[in-house]
């Protein structure tokens, strides 16, 4: 994989159309995410943010269009996405989606056991490091059912980081968290972005969180099923002329 070629965007999406059965969700979406960037996918409920994310992480085949990861097409013909490309993408699902039959350490170790070929001791050491990185040291033996919502999200991040992916996808990281934990999670994301030079795609409608972590954003709209606006969240907030985007940031009701 040509991961270090700066001229190729990390994620390149062109003319993407997504649908569930016969109903269209998103039409002709084109955007790209550069190395080290954090792209926020914004929009109201039901506008297709999570659907777009599912397609970008290899869970939903697009109706048409192309998604390229480091220049390599993710959806190639009728085949399932290449496992090697998928391993370069870490995903945090909305509820954490930890494997409930395994404890935290096993959850983080599983991707390493499956793909790294390291010895058991090395895997454990690496997994413990990832767990410490998200601030869950001491919780290794807890099962998902014994964790709080915030812990599950952090555990989900630790697992997403397990294979040292170059891109992380977060689906509504702040959903269901109190303001303080939400802020802590933002700090963790900024920390990872700064120290590991990771690229992020974050689906969210938490305005404060978006503005503090993202340096690029796209705004999806449920009615037109397109990308309505594109740009830095702060500048979208201050000077976007599209009424839907203005309403979103100002929390006003549509006229």
């Amino acid at each position: 994989m040509s991961t270090l070629n700066p001229s190729i965007p990390v994620i390149g999406v062109s003319d993407l159309c997504l649908s569930y059965g016969s109903s269209m969700i998103l039409e002709n979406a084109t955007f790209s995410v550069e190395q080290g960037q954090c792209l926020a996918v914004m929009g109201g409920s039901g506008c297709g943010k999570s659907t777009l994310l599912r397609s970008m992480v290899g869970l939903l085949r697009p109706k048409s269009g192309q998604i390229k990861v480091h220049g390599a097409p993710l959806w190639d013909g009728r085949h399932a996405p290449d496992s090697r490309i998928l391993r370069g993408l870490g995903v945090l699902f909305q509820g954490g989606a930890l494997w409930s039959s395994m404890n935290l350490l096993e959850n983080v170790s599983l991707p390493l056991e499956t793909f790294s070929g390291l010895s058991a001791a090395e895997i454990k050491e690496l997994a413990m490091y990832k767990i410490g990185q998200v601030g869950l040291k001491g919780a290794e033996s807890l099962y998902p059912s014994q964790m709080s919502g915030g812990m599950k999200k952090r555990a989900g991040i630790a697992r997403a980081l397990a294979l040292d992916p170059k891109v992380l996808f977060f689906d509504e990281p702040s959903a269901g968290l109190d303001p303080v934990n939400c802020r802590k999670l933002d700090e963790l994301i900024l920390d990872l972005k700064q120290n590991l030079a990771l690229t992020f795609v974050v689906v969210s409608h938490e305005i404060e969180s978006i503005v503090s972590i993202a340096d690029n954003g796209i705004f999806l709209d449920a009615n037109s099923r397109t990308i309505l606006a594109h740009g830095h969240p702060q500048s979208l907030r201050e000077s976007c002329s599209v009424p839907e985007v203005r309403d979103f940031f100002a929390r006003t009701l549509p006229a």
């Binding site: 059965g21 109903s23 039901g46 494997w99 409930s100 056991e113």
Partner: protein, 386 residues
């Protein structure tokens, strides 16, 4: 003109009442009493309809409430219906003397188009005709079966994500943990068959042949069938529930995002464990069933244990009698494992569909087991193996 409409059959002091006064084509409707959900509007609706129907464009209706008036959302719906009927006749409606909260709620209770629109499209898209459903169902089964075979081939060649640990755990869950229930059921099956058989054989003075009856029935038919049915209700259902709830919690998705196929990682160890454990349990059930027969033979019919065993041994003309049942149980184990996992993987994203998947995994497994059993017997007798 003034008239009172009877409202409901209740005689309670605070019963809902409506007083209508007319002056120069203008009606004043005075509501009083308890207009809440406790007082059904049945019985008064027809009278309101006939009142509304006699109105015309020249009339207007003014809604008023008395001091002792009480209302809840049932009144809101009633008054909305009433207003619609009056408006249909072209008469004017005046809500100005209603309390502010009620008037606001009335104005807001219109379907919100923008919220509903997108989801209605989704539902419209979901309406597919029955032939498409059957065809797509058939294709899904074929796809699952095909993928399972491909991943099995991968496992044989040593290229699989399935973990040995998961296989051993599944073996414990569907093998060793099932021993108590299998023991109970097969022991009682053997016991019952011995009782029923001995009553008939006694007529011919041939009660010792109870041993033959129990032994042959257990190893050929009842052993494999009973174990398979227990497995369908116990293990197949738990596979469907386990994998279905993993799907519900996006756990299956998180495997897929790592490039780990769910059929390889989750289905293969479980189905193979059941495939191997079912014949072992069947062999065990055969022995326990014969013990059930032995209990009746020695305790009720008075044979010695040795005599009973000798008779049992003579009933088994060859090892094929036992193998024929074990071949069946291999197929039954595979059926239960595949159906349970298929139902789990294809369960929808709601708790209702998860429940349906679990139920149908048991129903489909048992149906397929009985069909397969009949086919095996047909094949055995056609090939001269019986």
């Amino acid at each position: 003109m003034s008239k009172e409409l009877k409202t409901g059959k209740t005689n309670k002091p605070n019963r809902p009442q409506l007083k209508i006064e007319e002056g120069d084509g203008e009606y004043s409707l005075l509501f009083s009493g308890d207009w809440t959900i406790r007082h059904s509007k049945n019985g008064r609706l027809s009278e309101f309809v006939s009142f509304a129907d006699q109105l015309s464009e020249k009339n207007s209706c003014r809604f008023q409430l008395s001091d002792d008036f009480a209302w809840d959302s049932s009144f809101l719906l009633f008054i909305q219906d009433f207003e619609q009927r009056i408006s249909m006749q072209g008469a004017a409606v005046d809500f100005s003397s209603l309390p502010e909260g009620l008037a606001n709620l009335l104005a807001k209770n219109k379907p919100n188009q923008s919220l509903v629109q997108g989801r209605a499209d989704l539902q419209a898209g979901a309406e597919i005709d029955i032939f498409d459903q059957i065809l797509s169902g058939f294709l899904r089964v074929a796809e699952f079966w095909g993928k399972w075979l491909i991943f099995l081939w991968g496992l044989i060649r040593g290229k699989s994500f399935a973990r040995g640990r998961d296989f051993l755990l599944a073996c414990r869950d569907c093998g060793a943990s099932a021993l108590p229930i299998v023991t109970l059921i097969s022991y009682l099956t053997g016991l019952t068959m011995a009782f029923v058989g001995s009553v008939q054989l006694e007529k011919f003075n041939a009660t010792i042949y109870t041993a033959d009856l129990v032994c042959l029935a257990m190893v050929r038919e009842m052993g494999p069938l009973m174990v398979a049915i227990v497995m369908a209700g116990r293990t197949g259902a738990s596979f469907a529930a386990e994998i279905g709830s993993m799907k519900l919690n996006e756990e299956v998705d998180s495997l897929r995002t790592l490039g780990i196929p769910a059929i390889d990682f989750l289905v293969l160890p479980r189905t193979l464990a059941l495939f191997l454990m079912t014949p072992l349990l069947t062999l065990y059930a055969d022995i326990v069933g014969i013990m059930g027969g032995l209990t009746v033979g020695t305790q009720v019919m008075g044979f010695s244990a040795l005599h009973y065993f000798e008779q049992t041994q003579s009933a088994l003309l060859s090892m094929w009698e036992i193998y024929s049942g074990l071949w069946k149980s291999l197929a039954f184990g595979l059926i239960v494992g595949l159906v349970g996992c298929y139902k789990g993987i294809n369960s929808g994203n709601s708790s209702i569909s998860l429940g349906k998947s679990v139920t149908s995994s048991v129903v489909v497994s048992i149906t397929l087991i009985v069909i397969a059993d009949a086919l095996f017997e047909l094949a055995y007798s056609y090939l001269g193996l019986r």
